[in-house]
């Protein structure tokens, strides 16, 4: 039996990194907050490096509640968009080398968003991971958790519902 030779690891990595940076680099607000994404296989961890402009209450000091909300929402949207992009990329339906010239993908739209503030966001780096609980044709439900020093002690949880963009070529809603 003649199996195709597996692709060299650096080719796979550079393709996946290119797709991820295309997706996250195109959204101005993600750049403004300074959010980065660590990738291990298809798993993403969002990283929010601490910056003075993220402070809400300078007396404590603590991260602004709105920053925490934005960080969770960004993580949820990117997780959802990434899982679609990942499937298309790995199935060979899109060519990451040509992403730079192509139209930025229609992003899922937030329908509603609930944040549970468990403890004060400290003036240091924060991390978040999202899990897609339901991925439908029209709706998706995503859970997201953010933590700082200790993964077992999240400082905020979020639950987000999204309206999925229509597939390319379909009439808009």
């Amino acid at each position: 039996m003649n199996r195709p030779k597996p692709e060299p690891v650096h080719v796979i990595k550079s393709r996946r990194e290119a797709a991820l940076s295309w997706l996250t680099g195109g959204v101005p607000y993600i750049q403004y907050l300074g959010i980065q994404f660590d990738r291990r296989g298809d798993e993403l961890t969002a990283v929010l490096p601490f910056d003075d402009k993220l402070i809400g209450n300078p007396m404590l000091p603590a991260l602004h509640g709105g920053v925490t909300a934005a960080f969770l929402e960004v993580t949820a949207i990117i997780e959802l968009a990434w899982s679609t992009l990942w499937e298309d990329m790995e199935a060979g339906r899109i060519d990451p080398a040509k992403l730079a010239e192509s139209q930025f993908p229609a992003l899922p739209k937030t329908i509603d968003f609930t944040v549970d503030y468990l403890r004060t966001g400290l003036p240091r780096d924060a991390y978040a991971r999202a899990r897609v609980n339901r991925f439908g044709r029209r709706y998706a439900s995503v859970h997201v958790e953010a933590w700082q020093d200790n993964r077992e002690r999240p400082f905020a949880l979020g639950s987000v519902h999204f309206l999925m963009p229509p597939p390319p070529g379909a009439p808009a809603e």
Partner: protein, 140 residues
């Protein structure tokens, strides 16, 4: 210096509120109005130029906190416990966003808030929200 000016100065002292260009327009008796100008750095969808939901959430959270601080029970400080936002429609690009919050009930240690965000069309909200905040009372 009047109370509103004091409150404005207080908001200017909050780094993230200042970074997003938030301005306290009115505050008192458990109500607060805070605005945020459209800014290309806060875009969430590069295709349409619509602001990111996160920036609008930050504005609504700020207005909610300000409404708690303006409540007649005069809390010493407050922090968000829970925030739920429903997004009715995308904010129209290049329009200023206004968040109006009302702290409609407080207990000994919890404040309850309703908040709405609009763009220039004030008849159709962009988002509405409900929140609970902690309420720290002044030490007697």
């Amino acid at each position: 210096m009047d109370r509103l000016q004091q409150a404005r100065d207080f908001m200017q002292a909050l780094p993230h509120a200042r970074a997003l260009g938030m301005v306290l327009q009115d505050m008192g008796a458990g109500r607060a109005v805070v605005t945020m100008d459209y800014d290309a750095r806060f875009i969430g969808d590069p295709v349409t130029g619509v602001l990111h939901g996160g920036a609008i959430s930050a504005l609504m959270d700020t207005a909610s906190g300000a409404s708690v601080m303006s409540h007649p029970e005069a809390p010493a400080s407050t922090a968000t416990l829970d925030l739920r936002i429903d997004y009715m429609r995308p904010a129209t690009p290049r329009q200023r966003i206004t968040a109006r919050a009302e702290c409609y009930h407080v207990t000994r240690s919890v404040a309850f808030i309703r908040v709405t965000a609009t763009d220039h069309d004030e008849t159709r909200p962009v988002a509405t929200g409900t929140a609970t905040f902690t309420l720290e009372r002044p030490i007697p």
